[in-house]
Every structure is written in C-alpha cells, then in structure tokens.
Symmetry: D3
C-alpha cells in the first residue's frame, strides 16, 4: 500500500458504514470527508479516532470555537494543510471571523519565533 | 559566545534599561524574566520582540486568555519548556483553570496525532 | 538555483552515471528515481547519500522491512510525502501488508500525541 | 497551573485509582510511572490515553517489539527524552539488543537527513 | 475564512497600498508576491512583518547572502516550499551559486541527522 | 539499553580508538566529546558520521564559519541544546562574534515565524 485509497460508503463494510452514519448524523452532512475515508483502511483507528475526537472537541471547560482555534494553531505549526482547512471551516461555522483568524495566525507566528529564540539562546527557567 | 549570559539591569546599557523599565511597568513586576535578559544580548531583537509581543498579545478580536492558550499549544508542539511555563503562568493569571489546561492539552495531543495521520495516509484535500 | 532541476542519465557526467548505474543494478530498476536525479546537482552529496543508505538499510540486527517501517514513521512525523511514498513502496515489496501499514500509522499517531502531552505537562523522568 | 503536579495513588480519586490499578496489573508493576501521574490531572485524558495505548501497542499485524521501535523513532525525531527512555525500557524488556538500538538510531538519523534534503531540493513525486 | 484569498493592489485599502508601494520600491519589483497579498488579510501583521524583515535581513554583522542561506536552512528544516523558493531566488540574486546551494543542503541534511542522533542517544552536555 | 553510556578511550576497541585518534588529531583536542563517545555504541555509525562530517564541514563553496552558522540555525529550529552549544563553540573559534550570533538568532526566529504564517495562510507559490 504505497498509496492508500479512500473507502467510499458503497464499498464499505457494515462496521465502517455504522461509523460513517454516526459521523454524518452528528455533523449533519451527506458524506464523510476524506479524513474518515482514508482512516477507514484501518477500522480500529477509524473508530478510536472518531470516539476520541467526539470526547475531546465538544464544549467543556473550553468552548468549541476555542478548541478549533487551538487545533488550527497546532496544524499550522505542523504544516498540515488538510487539517488547517478542515478545522478553519469548522471554526468559521462556530463563529470565527476573519479578524479572529488574523490574530490567531499572528500569535502562532510569534510563538514559533520566540520558541526558537528560547532554544537558540538556551534560556534557562526563571527561578520561582 | 557558545553560551550567552543574561544581562542584569545593573549591567545594562541605557537603551536596554529603558526597555526593561517599560516591560516592568506594563507587567507590574520587579524584575524582567530570563527571556528578556538573554535577548538583551541583541538590543535590536530585544526591542523588536517586545514591541511585537505587545502588539500581538493584547485583547482584540480574540481575548488575552485565548491568545495565551494558543501560545501554549504552539509551545507544547515545539517542546519549549520555558515558553510553556511562562505562558501557563500568564494564562493562569488571566483565568485559566486546571480543567481548561487539561482540555487544552487534550486538543493539542489529538491535533498532533491527526496531523501525522493525515501526512502518513497522504490524505488529499476534499473537493469543495 | 531557486528551483533545482533533475539530472537525467543522458545529461549526466561520467561520475554521476557510475552512481546511477550502481543504484540501478542494486535495485534492479531501469531508471533512478527523482531523489537521485535531484541530489545529482551535488555529486558529493549524491555519492555520500547512496553509500550511507546502502550501509544503513540492508539487513543486520534489524531486518530490512523493519527498517523501512521506521523510515516511514520518521517521514510521516516530518511530513515528507515523497519519502512516505517511496519507502512505502519499498516496504510493500518487502512484505508490508495493509494491516501492517494501518498499525504503523496508529503507533505513529499515538507517539506524536503522547510526545506532545509529555512536553505540555512537563513530565520529568522517572527516578530509576 | 503553570506547573502541573503528579497525583500519587494515595491522593487519587476512586476513578483514577481504578485506572492506576488496571495499569499496574497489566504491566506487573508496583506503581505507575510519572506519565500516568501527570495525565491524572485530567481523568478523561488519563482514561482515553490508557485505553488507546492498550489497543494500539499490543501484538497484531506488527509484533510488540516492532511497535516499540517505531515509538522510539518518532520520539527521537520529536526530541521527547521521557518517551525515548520509557519506550527504550519497554523495547529492551521485549528483546531489543544494543545492536538493534544502534541500527534504529542509524535509520532515524538517515531518514531525518533525507526528509530534509527532499524538502530543500523540492523533489517532486516520481511519475507512476 | 477556511481558505484566505490574496488581496490585489486594485482591491487594497490605502493602508495596505502604502505598504505594497514601500515593498515594491525597496525591492524594485512591479507587484508584491503572494506572501504579502495573503498577509494583507491582517494589515497589522502585514506591517509588522515587513518592518521586521527589513530590520533583520539587511547587511549587518552578517552579510545579506549569509542571512538568506540561514533562512533557507530553517525553511528546509520546516518544509516550507514557498519560503525555500522565494529565499533561494533572493539568495541567487545576491550571488548564491549552484555549488553553494549544494553545500548548504548538505549541511542542513547532516545537522538534521545529528540533531536526532543526539536526541535518540540522549547525549548530555560536555562538562566545560 | 534504555539509557546508552559513553564509551571512554580506555574501554574502547581498537576500531573505535582509531577513529577517536583521528578526531583528536584533526581537531587538536585531548579527548573526544560526548557526541563521539555515545555514537561509539555503534561503531558503524561512529565511522560514517565522522567521515560525513569531515566531508561536509570543511571549506568549499561556503567557508567553514558559514557552515557552522547554518548548523546552529538548524539546531535551534530542532531544539538540540547539545548541538547549539558545540557548534557555537566551533563557530566562535572560527570568528563568530556576539553581534553575528545575535543576527543569526534574529534570522532563525523570523524564518520560523514566516514559515508558519505561510503554512497557516496556505500561501500558494507565485506564478513564475
């Protein structure tokens, strides 16, 4: 499998279809995105990832929009274009404005800069 | 300079002292942290970094606490212990609870996991 | 050289052709892949990289397939699509099944997640 | 919580103790490691991480030792000293020899080198 | 804004046009590159980034070409194709030859390899 | 080998001593650094790494100091404290001043910032 293929609903096993159905219902969408279709090559990972994301991304001590912003921050740092795009879409649907995205990027850029300055200058922890 | 040294206020030039004073006033602290004392080895970088952080981290379309959470998310992804600790202290002072920190970490961990799954499975962008 | 070009066999120097021939013979292929054609812009790096890979990737204390799996794990972590694809092809030819690839990705995803949790929570080494 | 603290068994809630007990039983150890004691600050993450690791790291299409080697490869790439150490201990207990560790490191080093050469030379995918 | 759009001169505000004009004048170009057109979605970041780059990238204790080489080294390590390409173009215009690019890549590859060997072997600092 | 140990000259095999001697002679030092003592756990990697570094780091199209600066840039980006320190020592011995180190760090910080802005804004390549 040098290059995995997406598994469409019509070709999926009963086990995979049940997860697809659950995702479609939870998100109110007609078809699951490529992320799920590729993970379906390993149904155990498909189920665990869906279960984990449901548990993590819902509102709790942090609201859902803040969680999406954090997700984008990590994804930009890791250069995951797919993740930036899909979580930006989620964030927009939850209220992220263009101004918020701009400030998010500004913080991400600055944090990456100062992280590396700290490494380069070998700055030790402040004494408490 | 295989190993830069911190520049204490008492040893600092007028130019550096002015920036230290500005930081101390803005933050209500007695002494600047190691981050600034090390950057002071290059006064141009010291000034630019302080000016940039002031511009970026204040409240805007995103509130200050959300910006601190994003900063921690990037710093955990980049393994910058100093940055995690200093921005966690800022976040705590702005209202971050233990439950919020726990959820922040959960999102950061999950985002790093799915970022790499997307890379590994070479998942293409969804057609619009 | 804002954008390096591949060096085809027909345009290559004697020195480069000798290395191409060696690679083709060792791998039983008609033409070397883009990786080698681009490295050929620097014949010293071309030769060193080929010599190093030959020394490292052959069977030893670890078998060749395990080494390919490790190569993919690093490449997914670093988001190197070219490397994931070429080493997945090698791994498949050495016996990697779809199920093995799925488990490989699961471990890579989880390791990236817990690596960042360890950073974020600043977890110290266990006392021995 | 600028600096989270480990939660010892004696201070843990019933919910956390149950997970600690499960880990201790599964691994045949007297006390859980710092990793679990820090994650216990967020019991939801503690449970999910334990459940996920159990599901992923057991033998399947890949044997347990190979999975540990992959875990170390990712952890070395991400510079997670805690993870390298704990998974090296697991790998050793499952049969990793010094020679195997040496070859693992050689592959990890080489993969990181060629990943970056591919990025730097902007090497395009080979046509199929 | 799941997918930001570039802001062309004809659609730009007065504030943005002034920065575009300054960049065009400083660089002797007819139109700014995509980098600036995308950052223009956040005029504060546009201005700060331009001001910072002007301050940093001019000749000082290090000449401009050396700074471009360093920029490429970081960008190859971070897998930023856009940055590699644009700074390689700048470096070429300042005198980078093909041989220099080849040696730059060789150092970048080797540094990434030994960085990870140091992490993997957990090599402690030498005593002074 | 959860935690590799350094191999001192007095405990080293003939094969390893020969490489240590070569390094000591080339660098004019009394004892090799920890880097070599840890790599000596795998003599094949020890020899290959020494041979490669000799080939790469000597003066060529780029002078030795520039190569050390590039090495530091990558090591700061990757957070390798050992590498930053050892290559800063080498760079200092070859003429790196404090002002040069400061500018190096400024470029490294800025490059890391703009690399991530490019990822986050998903900036496409400029048309040629």
């Amino acid at each position: 499998m040098a290059s995995p293929n997406p598994i469409e609903y019509s070709d999926a096993s009963i086990e995979i279809r049940e997860i697809y159905d659950e995702i479609k219902l939870a998100r109110g969408i007609q078809d699951v995105s490529n992320f799920w279709k590729y993970l379906a090559n390993d149904p155990v990972t498909l189920r665990r990832t869906w279960t984990s994301l449901k548990e993590i991304m819902g509102p709790g001590a942090l609201d859902s929009l803040t969680k999406e912003l954090i997700y984008i921050a990590v994804s930009a740092t890791n250069n995951c274009a797919y993740c930036i795009r899909s979580h930006s879409a989620s964030a927009s649907s939850k209220g992220m404005t263009d101004a918020m995205f701009g400030e998010l990027m500004a913080v991400v850029g600055m944090a990456n800069e100062t992280n590396k300055l700290v490494h380069g200058y070998q700055i030790p922890l402040d004494s408490p």
